[in-house]
Symmetry: C2
Subunit: 206 residues, 2 copies
C-alpha cells in the first residue's frame, strides 16, 4: 500500500494529519468535509478525496470524514507512530539555537535529545531543555542516546564533513538547513529545507 | 516543456544547478559525468541522466556534461533567472533573526529587502544589512519595494493572520517556517519548510 502513494500525496497527507490534529486540539468538530479541507489548505476537493482514497479505508459518512478515524488511518498507512523518535541538533549558531525555542516540537513525536557545537563556549553559555555537547562527543552521545535523526545547521563549509560523521554514526535521516548539496551513504536519507531552495521552488513554479 | 517535468525532478534539478555552481566556484572542472553527479548527490546515474534528458538539450560529450551549458539549460527550462527577486522576512524572533546571517543568500538571486516584526523594540535593537520595520508598515513597504516573496517565521498563533495579510499584498509566494497549515489565496503559493514536516517525511519514508 505504502509503495503506491506518490511523494506529493504523501507530503499532503503528512500536512493533513497535522491540520486535523490542530483542528482536534482547538475546535470541537468531530467530522470534516473535503470542501472544508479544501478551504483550509487550498488543495482542490478532488485532490483531497483522491489522497484520502489512497488510504484504502472508508472513514466517510454523509456528514464528512471522521477526524479521529482519518488521523488514525493516515498514521497507520504512512507509518507515523506515536512512539518518540530522538533527534539532535548539529550546529548551534543563530539558526541551530533558534530551534531551541521552536514551538512545533511540543505536539510532535520528535524529541530533541542533544545539541552539538564545535564551540565549547557556546555549548556552555546556551540554555536548552536538553544537554549540549562539544562536537567531539557526537559519536558517543548519538550511540548512547539512540538518536535516529539529525538537524544540520552548521556553517556551509562544515556541512559535508558533519554529514559524513553522522552517516558513520548510523543516523537514519538528516534535515539539512544548509544550502550545500550533501553526499551521504545509502542508509541515510536527506531532507533539504534550505530557505534558498524553497524560494527557488516558488519562483520556478510561478 | 516545463509542464512535463515532475515536481521531484524539478526539485532535483534545482539542487543540481546549485551543486554545479558550487563546483564551478570551488573547483576547476569544466565537465562532469553523471557518475560523478551520482557520487555527489546519491541520486542514481539513471535518475540523473533522465532528469537531464528532460531539459531537451544536448550538452553531453564523451567526457561528460559541460557544467556551464548544463547550468544555463536548467536555468532556462526552470525559468531561474539571474534577475534579482526581492523577499522579506516576517517575524524576527530567534528563527527569523537567524536568517539575518544566513550565508546562502550571497550566491542566490534572492535579496532580502526588508524585515518585519510586531515588536518595535526588536526592530530597533536588531542590526541587519536591510531595513527593519514594525509589522504595521508591511503593506506599504511591500508595495513600495516591489517585494515578491515572504519568509514567514512568526509564532504559530500569528501565522494564519500574517499569511492573509501577505496574500492581500499580492505576495507571489510564502516560505513557511511555522508548522501551521496555511490557507492562502489562489494567487499565492506556499512552500513549507517546517522542521517537523521534514522529520516526518524522513521517518515515514524509512
Amino acid at each position: 500500500m505504502k509503495k503506491s502513494i506518490s511523494k506529493p500525496a504523501r507530503e499532503r497527507l503528512i500536512q493533513l494529519v497535522r491540520l486535523l490534529e490542530q483542528v482536534q486540539s482547538t475546535e470541537t468538530l468531530a467530522v470534516i468535509t473535503s470542501a472544508e479541507i479544501e478551504k483550509r489548505t487550498g488543495w482542490t476537493n478532488a485532490t483531497v478525496r483522491r489522497d484520502i482514497s489512497l488510504l484504502g479505508i472508508n472513514c466517510a459518512s454523509s456528514a464528512g470524514y471522521s477526524i479521529a478515524a482519518l488521523i488514525e488511518a493516515i498514521k497507520a498507512v504512512l507509518n507515523i507512530s506515536r512512539s518518540e523518535k530522538k533527534c539532535c541538533i548539529v550546529g548551534l549558531g543563530r539558526l541551530g539555537s533558534a530551534l531551541l525555542e521552536f514551538e512545533g516540537f511540543a505536539h510532535s513525536s520528535f524529541k530533541i535529545a542533544a545539541g552539538f557545537d564545535s564551540s565549547v563556549n557556546r555549548t556552555e553559555i546556551l540554555s536548552a531543555p536538553f544537554p549540549l555537547y562539544p562536537t567531539s562527543r557526537m559519536e558517543a552521545v548519538i550511540a548512547q542516546e539512540g538518536i535516529e535523526y539529525a538537524i544540520l545547521a552548521v556553517p556551509e563549509r562544515s556541512a559535508q564533513e558533519a554529514a559524513e560523521r553522522l552517516c558513520k554514526c548510523g543516523i537514519k535521516g538528516i534535515v539539512n538547513y544548509t544550502s550545500v548539496v550533501l553526499r551521504v551513504n545509502d542508509g541515510t536519507m536527506v531532507e533539504n529545507i534550505s530557505v534558498i531552495d524553497a524560494l527557488q521552488k516558488l519562483s520556478s513554479a510561478g
